[in-house]
């Protein structure tokens, strides 16, 4: 016990005398990591909508049922009030334009289904953030597989969050 206390004192004295700037982050040798250059994978999304063999694609009711039973990632709040306001089949390029340059990560001519969801729907962010209410959000589905590829916010609620 006494030895340890003495050791502690010596360490504290050493720390106050040396400055130890040689251990500071500002003097470390930077490391270099090469970003990957292999063939990137195409985003697959998460299984969401069942394609009906008899129909060209899934319906607005299908999307409504989905968003009322499957919470869009990073969202909170009551799902039962969500409504699908509109649904369109667009190319990935068109979706990128609709989303003001937010990339889908897919080839431009990929067929997608762009659904606008009427809320309120709440999204939250990193630690320290509070949920924000949005009147409208969106979900993007792969027209070929029904997989959910993207979701996000459109129009912020004009009234304060509850």
């Amino acid at each position: 016990m006494i030895k340890n206390i003495v050791l502690l004192g010596v360490l504290a004295l050493c720390a106050s005398m040396t400055g130890c700037d040689s251990f500071s982050g500002s003097q470390q040798e930077p490391t270099k990591i090469k970003p990957p250059t292999g063939t990137r994978q195409r985003p697959q999304g998460v299984k969401a909508l069942e394609l009906k063999p008899s129909l060209a694609q899934f319906t607005q009711d299908d999307v409504t049922q989905y968003v009322r039973t499957h919470r869009l990632a990073k969202s909170v709040g009551d799902l039962s009030q969500l409504k699908v306001e509109s649904m369109e089949t667009l190319t990935a390029r068109e979706v990128k334009t609709r989303l003001q340059n937010a990339s889908t990560g897919l080839p431009d001519n990929t067929r997608l289904v762009f659904a606008i969801i009427r809320g309120p729907i709440y999204f939250s962010g990193p630690p320290g953030s509070k949920p924000v209410a949005f009147d409208r959000a969106y979900a993007v589905f792969d027209a070929a597989t029904g997989n959910l590829l993207m979701s996000g916010t459109l129009e912020k609620a004009k009234r304060p969050t509850k």
Partner: protein, 319 residues
């Protein structure tokens, strides 16, 4: 007192601490031992606890708990319109710019069963809470994030998301694909691309063989119509760790095994024509948030003797 001085003092404190009788846990009466490399174990595995109804069990390198056979898992309240999610994270901030963030994260068993009402994830964030174009967006902050999550009823998936400057569809989340097998160390890199005007952020998620390789781009929105793009965010905060969402019944709580975040580094300049992520390792712990659940702690502090580059930060859910 400088960083090194604090480390030397801390080393001395740990040496003194380990020589004393074991610390008493503040919960369930299980004594713990904390040894110099930061690992925590039960002093007496199998000892009775919690009035004799439970047994002390070393759960992982960071946790000793009193487990009561047959007792239901605790529930949690991690998400409603007023309170937001729960976090087990470490946050670094600095006045100068972080041009990017990088971490290696072990892929763990992760689930959010039907009824969990949300998700559990492990991820990194690069955040701007101060630039004018970000404080004026819908969230009053910008960020780029990347990681893996288990959403309700689904297998774990890779994802990335951004909250961009401006108020036009600020937040965008991308569902990428199923994750690598449990135990795989995946690499997560967010880097400002200085070759693009306006600057974009590139997001890479990949494994050693690049059999998993997602390469995505976060771009600023225009102002609409013929407007000019807004200035890109300036990262001044990096967070690593776990986010938990939902308010489930005990039968549907989420779970995630202990994940390790290592090689925690930050880019000292944007990507240029040399196409190299030039970085410094994190050398300090930062500010830890430990909502319990999730549980988060440093298994090995950044810069500690024998620690991986950038330390070893762990997350676990959901007790």
């Amino acid at each position: 007192m400088g960083l090194c001085q604090r480390m030397l003092l801390a080393f001395g404190v740990i040496v003194v601490t380990s020589a004393l009788s074991p610390l008493t846990s503040s919960a369930q009466n299980c004594e713990i031992i904390k040894i110099p490399n930061g690992i925590i174990k039960c002093a007496q595995p199998g000892a009775k606890c919690d009035g004799g109804t439970g047994r002390c069990v070393t759960l992982n390198d960071n946790e000793c708990d009193c487990l009561i056979p047959g007792a239901p898992l605790p529930t949690y309240t991690c998400g409603d319109p007023s309170s937001g999610h729960c976090y087990g994270v470490n946050a670094w901030t600095q006045g100068t710019e972080y041009f990017g963030a990088y971490a290696d994260i072990t892929q763990v068993q992760m689930s959010c069963p039907s009824g969990c009402g949300g998700f559990v994830d492990d991820e990194i964030w690069l955040i701007d809470r101060s630039s004018t174009n970000c404080t004026s967006n819908d969230f009053q902050m910008c960020w780029v994030e990347a990681g893996t999550f288990a959403t309700e009823g689904n297998n774990p998936q890779y994802f990335w998301a951004d909250s961009r400057p401006g108020t036009g569809n600020t937040f965008n989340l991308h569902y990428l694909g199923n994750t690598d097998p449990v135990g795989t160390v995946d690499h997560y890199m967010i880097i400002k691309d200085g070759r693009a005007t306006p600057n974009t952020y590139l997001v890479f998620i990949y494994n050693d063989s690049q059999s998993t390789l997602y390469s995505e781009t976060s771009s600023v929105a225009g102002t609409g119509g013929c407007g000019s793009p807004l200035p890109q965010m300036v990262g001044r905060e990096i967070d690593i760790g776990q986010e938990l969402a939902g308010t489930p019944p005990a039968s549907s709580v989420a779970s995630a095994s202990t994940a390790h975040f290592t090689r925690n580094t930050w880019a000292i300049k944007p990507l240029d024509s040399s196409y190299v992520f030039v970085s410094n390792a994190q050398t300090a712990q930062g500010a830890v948030t430990n909502a319990k659940p999730p549980t988060a702690a440093w298994a090995q502090n950044p810069g500690a003797p024998g620690a991986p580059v950038g330390g070893d930060f762990t997350t676990l859910c959901c007790r």
